[in-house]
């Protein structure tokens, strides 16, 4: 109970900071819109490729990909907040209080997910305006958002861990370029995997980003196959727990370096 309360207080701190940065809010809101419009326009005609059997407009296909990608790209910067707190000694102050170490990680990651949820609403609304269809309805879109959040939480934890292990901005930038971009494109986010080379399909089978995209896309379809969706969500939940535990453990490494 106390760990939950501590987490909530720390999440509140980050949310408050976010709400006081108008330009930051602006970037947050505009970024997913750009992805949606840009990729929507760029790949508009790929549905003409033989074998692209979704039968609907590309925007329908694109929404799950953009949503998961947005979660990755937003949450991947999570470690920057850790670096800020390290630089300003706020981390030392937190660590000198009797709070659970996990509350620091979870509190920050929850804030990332709260702000992502707002982005998810905007993407969904804009997609509808652009003529997308969500046969899976609100439930489907919520499951998709959940899948994207779980991937976001995993990436945020890795970003936090890198920040605590290496304590440099470059480490967080590194995780963003080396992890989030390849993971996004080694998935069916923008292109059905059966149109991709075999090796990419193989890699994608083990790629959590692809689990999220495919599970979310399936949940959003007219006939969700829950026996396909739920195991993937289960795997993502398991990975989220592992990644959070890993990030929490890196405090030991940080404190050894002090």
């Amino acid at each position: 109970m106390t760990a939950l309360a501590q987490t909530a207080y720390l999440t509140t701190r980050h949310v408050r900071f976010f709400l006081r940065q108008p330009w930051f809010i602006g970037i947050y809101l505009v970024q997913p819109v750009i992805w949606l419009l840009l990729f929507g326009a760029l790949f508009k005609n790929v549905v003409e490729i033989p074998g692209f059997t979704i039968g609907a407009s590309y925007i329908d296909y694109l929404v799950p990909g953009v949503l998961v990608m947005t979660a990755l790209f937003s949450c991947g910067w999570s470690g920057m907040s850790i670096i800020e707190d390290l630089d300003r000694s706020i981390m030392d102050r937190l660590l000198a209080t009797p709070i659970h170490r996990s509350a620091i990680i979870v509190g920050l990651n929850l804030y990332e997910l709260v702000s992502f949820a707002i982005q998810a609403l905007i993407i969904g609304g804009l997609a509808l305006v652009l003529g997308a269809h969500f046969p899976g309805g609100l439930l489907g879109y919520s499951v998709l958002t959940l899948c994207a959040m779980l991937v976001g939480a995993i990436v945020a934890s890795f970003s936090d861990a890198m920040a605590l292990l290496l304590r440099q901005r470059e480490s967080v930038i590194g995780i963003n370029t080396l992890l989030t971009l390849p993971l996004t494109f080694l998935s069916g986010a923008f292109m059905p995997l059966k149109l991709a080379p075999d090796w990419i399909s193989t890699v994608a089978t083990y790629n959590p980003v692809n689990w999220a995209v495919e599970a979310g896309r399936d949940a959003l379809s007219s006939t969700p196959d829950w026996s396909f969706v739920l195991p993937r969500i289960g795997l993502l939940v398991g990975l989220t727990i592992l990644a959070t535990a890993f990030a929490t453990r890196t405090f030991r490494s940080y404190q050894r370096s002090l």
């Binding site: 501590q6 006081r20 000694s89 030392d92 102050r93 404190q255």
Partner: protein, 334 residues
């Protein structure tokens, strides 16, 4: 004087608030940051930890506040082992770190409320405590403003107030007045003295010898990870023989040349030079000045000014570390 004698844990009422025995800490690359530090701080006193860059002051504070762990040795705060029961220690201590760890994007009140929440405080009791601290530090009017708009002195007071929110038994102040203007510094000194008068135990590291002299009942000088001197400021000063003579030379001279000249004089001891500043001790300062000037003149060394002073902690410091104290230099962050 055996400086590194072991001191046994004897905390509790009337005992030591902080007790450290033989703390050793090594960083990768075989950097020995602490090489057997022992400390004993009586409850209700102010203890000053002085030392040059990278001497180990901050490392010591980090171990005592459970942020870092020693490779070997033990430390107790209020009788509780910092390595074995860190959470119990954390409830009893307040930490005011070197860099002013306040959230500059939040208001003063928000900073204090969050800090209280993290100690499990809440509701009306927390609001009362926050109001009390804001009033005590003269921050009530600014409390609703974002902290980054505050002056450095106000931010530092908020930092101290945050460290006090849960009414700790022991307060750690790591260079609390570094970077403050003289007025803000005097203000904070007065507050530290008031806190001590109320029975709080305070461990203070400082760049300013004057600060330790003014505030601390006991002082330890730490150099290269070892404690090289300890005692009350007066005890340390009285260990020095006679007055301090400080000669500012007109030009810098070859290393050791000027001090070698003074070495030969009767009644003048411990000459040392740092840049163009030549220091020595004299049994009778005023009577030695003509002799010193004549000797330097004979050696062809030009003199810009001479001052004679009663011993200060600066002199103690110089004597024990072999270096003059330079308050403007930055302490290595670890």
């Amino acid at each position: 004087m055996n400086l590194d004698r072991p001191q046994h844990a004897g905390a509790g009422p009337g005992g030591a608030a902080i007790n450290a025995v033989d703390l050793v800490k090594t960083y990768p690359g075989d950097v020995r940051a602490l090489d057997g530090i022992g400390l004993n701080v009586e409850a209700g006193t102010i203890f000053g930890l002085l030392g040059p860059n990278g001497a180990g002051k901050s490392t010591t504070v980090k171990i005592l506040t459970t942020l870092s762990r020693a490779d070997s040795g033990t430390a107790h705060v209020m009788g509780v082992d910092v390595a074995r029961q860190p959470d119990r220690v954390r409830r009893m201590i307040g930490l005011v770190g070197q860099h002013g760890a306040v959230d500059s994007e939040a208001t003063g009140r928000e900073n204090l409320i969050l800090q209280g929440h993290l100690y499990g405080m809440g509701g009306a009791a927390l609001r009362r405590r926050v109001d009390e601290l804001l009033a005590r530090f003269g921050l009530t009017d600014a409390a609703g403003r974002i902290v980054k708009t505050w002056s450095g002195g106000m931010q530092r007071k908020l930092d101290v107030a945050s460290g006090l929110i849960h009414q700790p038994r022991v307060l750690f102040l790591d260079e609390p007045t570094t970077g403050l203007d003289p007025e803000a510094r005097a203000d904070l000194w007065a507050e530290v003295q008031r806190l001590s008068a109320e029975g709080l135990t305070i461990l203070l590291t400082t760049h300013y010898l004057e600060e330790a002299d003014r505030l601390a009942g006991q002082v330890a000088i730490i150099d290269r990870g070892k404690i090289v001197a300890r005692g009350t400021p007066d005890e340390l000063k009285s260990e020095l023989r006679g007055d301090a003579i400080v000669v500012e030379l007109r030009d810098s001279v070859r290393d050791g040349h000027a001090s070698a000249v003074l070495e030969l004089l009767d009644g003048v001891h411990d000459p040392s030079i740092s840049g163009r500043t030549l220091r020595a001790r004299a049994d009778d300062g005023a009577r030695s000045v003509p002799t010193v000037l004549a000797a330097l003149d004979a050696a062809g060394i030009g003199v810009a000014s001479v001052t004679v002073a009663r011993p200060s902690l600066d002199d103690v410091y110089l004597r024990h570390t072999g270096r003059a104290y330079r308050p403007e230099s930055q302490e290595a962050t670890r």
